[in-house]
């Protein structure tokens, strides 16, 4: 289809170029000076009823023949060329205004728009990628912060646990030490009481045997305590 259209489009071009090329070389064109003179002379001789001698001496005829040497004014346009040139330009302008120019310009604008769209999309993709990267970096930063916080927290908890355990151990040791001291004190008091009772019993028996007298219980008690205190004082 496209090739057929190309051939159709190229056909008038080839035809016109062929015609132009066949138009012949410049030197072969136009009326020659000799031809012009011969034509004028023939006409003048005919007007003078074949009298060549008279014709050749006629000044009017000579002026006419002189004109054959004058080139036409090249600046004056020819009517047929004005008509064809104007029509050609008008036709081409009509085609260009209606079809040729809008088609090409439209295609150019559409392509420019498409490229601009692609560039915008690429720019947007770049912006999106940067946003994703920023988000990723932010999340990475958050994760690092969170990890650091967790480590610090764990380290703090461990420190706290260590301090708690240490404190508890200290407390337990103190309690045990206190309890041991209390037990020792209690055992000592018990031992003292037991010893006092034992000593009192021994002393009472001895005293009873010594004095052989009966003492009431209150006196006996006072005597025993005095003795124990005395013994304790002597031991202390």
């Amino acid at each position: 289809m496209s090739q057929r259209r190309n051939r159709l489009a190229a056909a008038p071009l080839i035809a016109v170029l062929g015609l132009v090329a066949l138009a012949g070389p410049a030197g072969a064109s136009g009326e020659s000076v000799g031809g012009c003179m011969a034509e004028h002379l023939a006409e003048a001789v005919e007007e003078n009823h074949g009298d060549l001698e008279h014709t050749l001496h006629d000044e009017g005829v000579q002026d006419d023949l002189e004109k054959c040497f004058e080139a036409p004014n090249p600046i004056l346009p020819e009517t047929n060329e004005i008509i064809w040139g104007g029509l050609s330009f008008g036709l081409l302008f009509f085609f260009m205004a209606k079809k040729g120019f809008p088609a090409v310009k439209g295609a150019m604008d559409a392509r420019a728009e498409r490229i601009a769209g692609d560039l915008d999309a690429a720019e947007q993709a770049k912006i999106d990628a940067r946003a994703v990267e920023a988000d990723y970096q932010a999340r990475l930063g958050d994760a690092k912060g969170e990890a650091s916080r967790l480590i610090d927290e764990a380290r703090g908890a461990a420190e706290q646990l260590k301090a708690d355990l240490s404190a508890r151990a200290e407390t337990d040791i103190a309690d045990m030490r206190e309890r041991a001291a209390a037990d020792i004190e209690s055992a000592r008091q018990q031992a003292i009481a037991d010893l006092r009772a034992e000593v009192a019993g021994i002393a009472l028996g001895a005293a009873e045997r010594v004095v052989q007298s009966s003492l009431d219980a209150e006196v006996q008690g006072r005597l025993i305590d005095a003795y124990i205190d005395e013994v304790a004082g002597s031991n202390g």
Binding site: G30, I75, W84, G85, G86, A97, F101
Partner: protein, 255 residues
């Protein structure tokens, strides 16, 4: 024509062509007309092919030619001389540029070797069209009074100088412009064509008589052929940018 022992063809034979069709009528077709038609056909084909729906994402071939031309006219001509308002003239200026350029470039196409704009018909026709357009645009943009006032009495000029400036502007803007536009293009193409013919004739004559003597004219012929390619494009550009300048001046008198 015999010039310094050289047979130089009469100038009229270099620019005037015999009729091929409709001989003797106002619609006679000659080589000049065929070059106009070829310029139309080439421009049309380029834009038909370039405007195909599935044009390549990366322009190549004729698509590249058309798009480069449009970009060049838009960026280097319209935006520089008229501004964004001038985009509506893009089809006209693009047509003008390509039509003039292809009409000119046939000057160096082997077998044809004739710039159609070395005939006055198209340059003067286009110049008159441009004259009508920029005057119409001026009247529509500024009103008749405003356009005439801004054209004939340019702001910023001391009042006393209007005695000199106003007649000059009157002649320059409303009379000389179309002729200067047309003659610039026409004369450049005539001169280029004459130069190429001169060196071609010299080469031919010196080759047939001395052989070695043809080297210089032939080198000049090659050089001038390259130069004329440049001139063909440059004259199309100049005609188009001056058109844009005139339109821009009519639309925005302050500039």
């Amino acid at each position: 024509m015999n010039v310094l022992a050289l047979e130089f063809p009469p100038v009229s034979h270099l620019f005037e062509w015999p009729d091929m069709l409709f001989s003797g009528t106002a619609y006679a077709v000659n080589k000049t007309v065929l070059v106009y038609l070829a310029a139309v056909a080439i421009t049309g084909v380029i834009f038909i092919l370039a405007g195909r729906p599935r044009a390549s994402m990366v322009p190549t071939g004729v698509q590249h030619v058309a798009e480069t031309g449009i970009d060049f006219i838009e960026d280097s001509i319209v935006m520089q001389t008229i501004g964004p308002d001038g985009r509506k003239f893009m089809p006209f200026l693009t047509t003008m540029f390509f039509f003039i350029m292809f009409s000119n470039i046939f000057e160096v196409i082997p077998g044809i070797q004739f710039p159609a704009n070395s005939r006055m018909a198209v340059p003067i026709t286009l110049a008159i069209v441009v004259w009508v357009i920029y005057n119409f645009v001026g009247v529509r943009s500024q009103g008749l009074g405003g356009y005439l006032k801004n054209s004939l009495f340019p702001p910023g000029v001391p009042v006393a100088l209007y005695l000199i400036v106003t007649p000059i502007e009157l002649v320059s803007t409303f009379v000389v412009r179309p002729f200067s536009l047309a003659i610039r293009l026409w004369a450049n193409m005539v001169a280029g064509h004459l130069l190429l013919v001169t060196f071609a004739v010299l080469t031919q004559v010196l080759w047939s008589s001395t052989y070695i003597g043809a080297v210089g004219p032939f080198a000049m012929l090659v050089l001038m052929t390259g130069f004329e390619i440049l001139v063909s494009v440059l004259q199309a550009f100049i005609f188009t940018i001056l058109t844009a300048v005139y339109i821009g001046g009519s639309m925005h008198p302050a500039h």
